[in-house]
């Protein structure tokens, strides 16, 4: 049983490391171990939901019924455009500037 637990814990750590990359985060090895440990503990706790038979239940995404909300397709001005651009960490006139994303050929 202990061996199986260790294998499960190891698999979980690998998956959590991949998750960190998916979430666009990056840690040192010791920081990563810290989050693997914490996340594993929480995931072990929330797995108690496995005690319940849920196969025939409908999922609830919103407690109260919501319906698609539409408005008429009218162009509305964006008066805050200038103020929004002024907050840009880096800008080039009316564009947000970012590192190059396309390789030069």
């Amino acid at each position: 049983m202990k061996g199986r637990e260790n294998r499960e814990a190891k698999v979980s750590a690998e998956v959590i490391k991949k998750t960190v990359a998916l979430a666009r985060l990056e840690f040192s090895p010791s920081e990563l171990d810290h989050y693997v440990e914490k996340a594993s503990r929480v995931l072990e706790y929330v797995a108690t939901l496995g005690e319940l038979a849920t196969e025939t239940l409908e999922p609830t995404s919103h407690a109260l019924e919501i319906v698609n909300a539409f408005r008429s397709d009218e162009v509305r001005p964006t008066p805050q455009a200038k103020a929004i651009l002024e907050m840009a960490p880096a800008r080039d006139k009316d564009l947000f500037e970012v590192p190059r994303v396309i390789e030069e050929t």
Partner: protein, 490 residues
């Protein structure tokens, strides 16, 4: 009584009668904040120039005899999750430490239009993720009743500020208990409205199917006044309910004789602090003396609420916080390639609890794990919601503790996420079910070596859109007791 101890209703009367001016009282609050905020940490940003300008405008309107409302000239403060044009809005996060919104959210706008005076922005757990206000990038908030104890979270700054008379009233947000829990720990009133009753436009998103804004005040009447102002349809929020808003103050003073109050057995189990159980049971006897009937009910899936929440809320948070990428606003780390820019900006900007929840949320939504975690949690959410629907067949509202114990000590749970998460065991089910709930003070724990008495709170939970009934029931108790009159000595 100091003028800063006045309620919204009391101050409004004095302002209209010109016994006080908004400018005078605003200055008194600003002085009090300067004196006490270094000790309590309630405010992240104080905006004296903005506040005094708003106060003077309010005074001019009243001097001209313009039609004014109950919030005109009243100094309030907002949890730093609410978007306020021209005033720093950080969500207590380094990733937004320099973010000054170019627009007002609906809450800020409705309060402005009502003539309220904004004193500043209040401390909170980062992005509303926390139960103790120890996860802020701008310092810990202290409980004004006992500064070695937490005020509760995530609206800890709001609760502390109202209890310590650093503002007359505040707005907080409640996703898993973040209005009710700190309200209970600080001895004030707080309401989480029905999901959709108050717009979410202008409130930085944490978990979109759970978030709700609500008032935090000294009295039930003040809570009703504030809800009158902020509730109602907003076309900017597609989940905002397009239904009429009643006048909530009209419910105050209605009798509770004949109403049925349910006591859910799962909220009075061993493990709940005996002083908390005793205080809430005593409150139920007050209701009996007023002619209400007590009914025993059961919410059998209560113990699955916390694990359900800690799958759904982080999942939704991971999606909502994906926008913080260092591109358009907020913290950006200078990097040579785009992916490194994303990773470093986010890792540098987010604190530890937010980081943990983003990891959890990303995991439970990822391919191969979605069904076992997220989909399963949504199905358990159905069970939890149905528990309440069945209970409401037997009663008009539920009466329960807010927290299993009074405020714990600073640092006590910060390294144990499960223990911290279990603080919200009685508040989370209400959010999952989308119901309204009103927290109000119902006693104090006994004095002990090491700390003075700590507030105990109860909550009234109602059917969807029954805020008026909750105010009716809460007000009746408040008028029979004196807990709401107590103030911490500071």
């Amino acid at each position: 009584m100091e003028v800063t101890d006045l309620t919204v209703a009391q101050l409004s009367e004095k302002l209209v009668k010109r016994e006080l001016s908004s400018e005078e009282i605003t200055r008194q609050f600003l002085n009090r904040i300067e004196r006490l905020n270094p000790k309590l940490g309630a405010y992240i940003t104080v905006c004296p120039d903005v506040a005094l300008e708003m106060a003077k405008t309010a005074d001019l309107r009243m001097a001209k005899g313009d039609r004014v409302g109950p919030l005109t000239g009243v100094p309030i403060a907002l949890k730093d999750i609410f978007i306020t044009k021209g005033v720093l809005t950080t969500c207590a996060s380094n990733i937004l430490k320099n973010y000054v919104p170019p627009f007002d959210g609906t809450h800020s706008l409705r309060l402005k239009n009502a003539g309220a005076v904004l004193l500043g922005k209040l401390n909170m757990d980062e992005f509303a993720m926390g139960s103790s206000n120890e996860f802020s990038a701008f310092g810990t908030v202290k409980n004004p009743w006992a500064v070695g104890h937490v005020p509760g979270g995530s609206s800890g700054g709001s609760a502390c500020a109202v209890a310590a008379s650093l503002c007359i009233a505040s707005l907080g947000t409640d996703t898993g208990g973040s209005i009710r829990y700190p309200a209970s720990h600080c001895g004030i009133v707080g309401m989480k409205p029905t999901y959709g009753r108050v717009t979410r436009y202008g409130m930085v998103a944490f978990a979109s199917s759970l978030d709700q804004a609500g008032p935090m005040t000294k009295t039930v009447r003040d809570c009703a006044i504030l809800l009158n102002t902020i509730a109602g349809f907003d076309p900017n929020d597609s989940t905002s309910l397009n239904l009429p808003v009643p006048n909530y103050t009209g419910f105050l003073g209605k009798k509770v004789c004949g109403l049925k109050l349910g006591l859910p057995k799962e909220y009075f189990v061993e493990g709940v602090n005996p002083e908390v159980s005793k205080a809430v049971i005593e409150a139920s006897k007050v209701y009996e003396s007023l002619g209400a009937k007590l009914v025993h009910v059961t919410l059998p899936h209560t113990r699955y609420a916390v694990p359900t929440y800690y799958i759904i809320a982080p999942a939704e948070a991971s999606a909502n916080l994906a926008r913080y990428d260092g591109i358009r606003y907020g913290h950006r780390s200078k990097q040579k390639d785009l992916v490194s820019l994303y990773r470093k900006s986010r890792t540098e900007g987010f604190g530890p609890e937010v980081t943990l929840r983003i990891i959890l949320g990303t995991f439970v939504l990822s391919s191969g794990y979605y069904d076992a975690y997220y989909l399963r949690a949504q199905k358990v959410r159905t069970l939890i919601k149905n528990d309440f629907l069945q209970a409401f067949e037997k009663c008009d509202a539920l009466l329960a503790p807010v927290a299993p114990e009074p405020a714990f000590k600073l640092g006590e749970r910060i390294d144990d996420p499960i223990k911290m998460y279990l603080s919200d065991i009685f508040t989370i089910p209400v959010n999952l079910a989308g119901l309204p709930a009103l927290a109000l003070p119902c006693g104090f724990s006994g004095e002990r070596r090491g700390h003075p008495p700590l507030p105990i709170g109860m909550q009234l939970i109602g059917r969807p859109l029954s805020e008026g009934t909750l105010f009716q029931i809460g007000y009746a108790y408040e008028q029979e007791t004196k807990w709401h009159l107590k103030r911490p000595s500071l």
